[in-house]
């Protein structure tokens, strides 16, 4: 079973306590956006085989969103981080480069 550490409340929780929220760091282009930009935000996904940055919500816990870096081909979790960011933090990227989990 997938175990993730919620960065908001610090608990290591099983996936049954979590709600998956799809790819992280999507950019919403706002009211003046073109059809292409809206399609990119709404539908197009990296669907990466390998490192995937994704959103999770600690639904049956603190209820807050957070982000996780996980490998979709090995199920290795590199780490989780705060959702109030537009890109993965440097320490997570360093762990991914080394192939280590947090």
């Amino acid at each position: 079973m997938l175990l993730l550490t919620c960065p908001n409340c610090g608990l290591s929780v099983e996936e049954t306590e979590l709600a998956p929220g799809g790819q992280a760091h999507l950019k919403r282009f706002g009211p003046e956006s073109t059809d292409e930009q809206f399609e990119e935000y709404m539908f197009l996904r990296d669907n990466a085989k390998g490192v995937h940055f994704e959103r999770w919500r600690h639904a049956y816990g603190c209820g807050k969103w957070f982000f996780a870096a996980r490998d979709t081909s090995s199920l290795q979790v590199y780490g989780t981080y705060c959702a109030q960011t537009t890109e993965p933090p440097a320490d997570i990227l360093a762990l991914i480069a080394k192939g280590r989990s947090a």
């Binding site: 079973m1 997938l2 996936e15 049954t16 709600a19 998956p20 799809g22 790819q23 059809d35 292409e36 809206f38 399609e39 709404m42 539908f43 197009l44 996904r45 990296d46 669907n47 990466a48 085989k49 995937h52 994704e54 996980r70 979709t72 081909s73 090995s74 199920l75």
Partner: protein
């Protein structure tokens, strides 16, 4: 190709069955093909077959990373039905279902199509309204389905507990012409027919790159060398996103794990397929006597062909309530496959930004039933550039807001 017949069986019985030969040929890849299909599962092989049969294109190679039919074609629960809500879906799934009816004869290969009937249970009042609407839509589309009450459900499937208590059976959407088929045989039968037309099926040949020149596809790089082609069809289900990335575009898909399991074999107890979408489980009995059980997908991206244990527990918990007699059954095997799910739960059969490159993907949790229709439409699309069967399934529909919304109609498992 040696035809199968009663005479052939008698002849081979007299000479120790030494004359059957291989079902499909194994040849090294050639230098160039008119059409290359990536993915030798049901959809890829059916596409190749109808390219040859309907359009006379036989200089075709089908490349497969693993072994033939070893992906989702060998991992599904073999259900065939066409009771979809939207017109484009009903058209392509009904085409597939009607082709399945004659497929054993056409391929001269027994795919064991068993039109035993499919019931989709309504266990909430919302579902009752939804399935009545689907039954009306189906009668306009020329798909024979009917709304049946709980007593008729009980009559068709006596092992079912229709009383509830939590989710009583309020009726069902019954498609008498739906059923099951032997999934491996569908792939093997198409492969045999493709070989017979002179096509090359190349296994253990993983595509590692897609060659383009001036916005047009020119070939593929593979683990068995470079192969040139005129047109390229990507029919790779869960790995469609990976191949699209090689070609330089993205698809509106996400790949997730879907699991199924079978019980120990028991005596015949159920001669229909039952799907219960509210509680997330479906079940049929195979010819060997095993109860074949499927459930819902995981919610997160995954390429490992392994799923989360709690979904098996959820599925079985739900089915035990509706089928109390299975509570003491032992489960024999469990497995997972990677399904590619789109936003509207409908497939993508489409041209792409790359000239000469076509995709057939997004069948999500319900691709097996569509194999002949999907191959028929995809072959026409690749040969002529347009097919009435696939016209509504273009990948631009997401940008243009023309969804074929089956997420309400088919909901979860299908």
């Amino acid at each position: 190709m040696r035809r199968f017949s009663a005479f052939a069986i008698a002849r081979e019985a007299l000479r120790n069955h030494e004359g059957w030969g291989r079902t499909w040929a194994r040849r090294p890849p050639g230098k160039r093909y008119d059409v290359i299909i990536v993915g030798a599962g049901g959809h890829g092989l059916a596409t190749a077959y109808y390219l040859g049969k309907n359009h006379g294109i036989t200089n075709v190679a089908i490349l497969e990373k693993g072994w033939l039919g070893g992906g989702n074609t060998g991992r599904n629960t073999t259900i065939i039905r066409s009771n979809y809500l939207q017109d484009p879906s009903a058209a392509i799934y009904e085409k597939a279902r009607s082709l399945y009816e004659g497929l054993s004869q056409e391929l001269n290969y027994n795919i064991m199509f068993s039109p035993r009937g499919v019931i989709m249970l309504a266990q909430t009042h919302h579902e009752v309204r939804g399935y009545k609407r689907t039954a009306h839509a189906n009668s306009l589309q020329g798909v024979t389905t009917e709304w049946i009450g709980p007593q008729r459900v009980k009559q068709l499937c006596p092992i079912m507990n229709i009383e509830g208590p939590r989710y009583p059976v309020l009726g069902g959407l019954w498609q008498a012409r739906g059923g099951t088929a032997r999934h491996d045989a569908v792939a093997w039968g198409y492969a045999r027919a493709c070989t017979d037309m002179g096509m090359d099926i190349i296994q253990k040949c993983e595509v590692t790159g897609i060659a383009q020149s001036g916005g047009k596809v020119t070939g593929v790089q593979t683990t068995q060398g470079d192969i040139a082609c005129g047109k390229l069809g990507l029919v790779t289900a869960g790995h469609s996103g990976v191949l699209a990335q090689m070609a330089g575009f993205r698809l509106p898909l996400e790949s997730v794990a879907l699991q199924a399991l079978v019980s120990e074999p028991i005596k015949p107890c159920m001669d229909v397929v039952v799907m219960a979408n509210t509680v997330h489980g479906y079940m049929s009995q195979s010819d060997k006597g095993e109860m074949v059980i499927g459930g819902g997908t995981d919610g997160y991206n995954n390429y490992t062909q392994r799923g989360s244990f709690q979904h098996i527990e959820e599925t079985l918990r739900a089915l035990v309530e509706t089928f109390p007699m299975i509570s003491r059954l032992k489960m024999l095997r469990q497995w997972g496959g990677i399904v590619d799910v789109t936003g509207d739960r409908s497939p993508i059969l489409s041209k792409t930004p790359v000239d000469g490159l076509f995709v057939n993907c997004g069948w999500g949790t319900g691709g097996f039933k569509a194999i002949p229709g999907s191959g028929w439409g995809m072959a026409e699309l690749m040969a002529k550039g347009h097919s009435p069967l696939t016209a509504a399934f273009g990948m631009e529909r997401f940008r243009e807001g023309r969804f074929i919304d089956e997420s309400v109609a088919a909901g979860v498992a299908h």
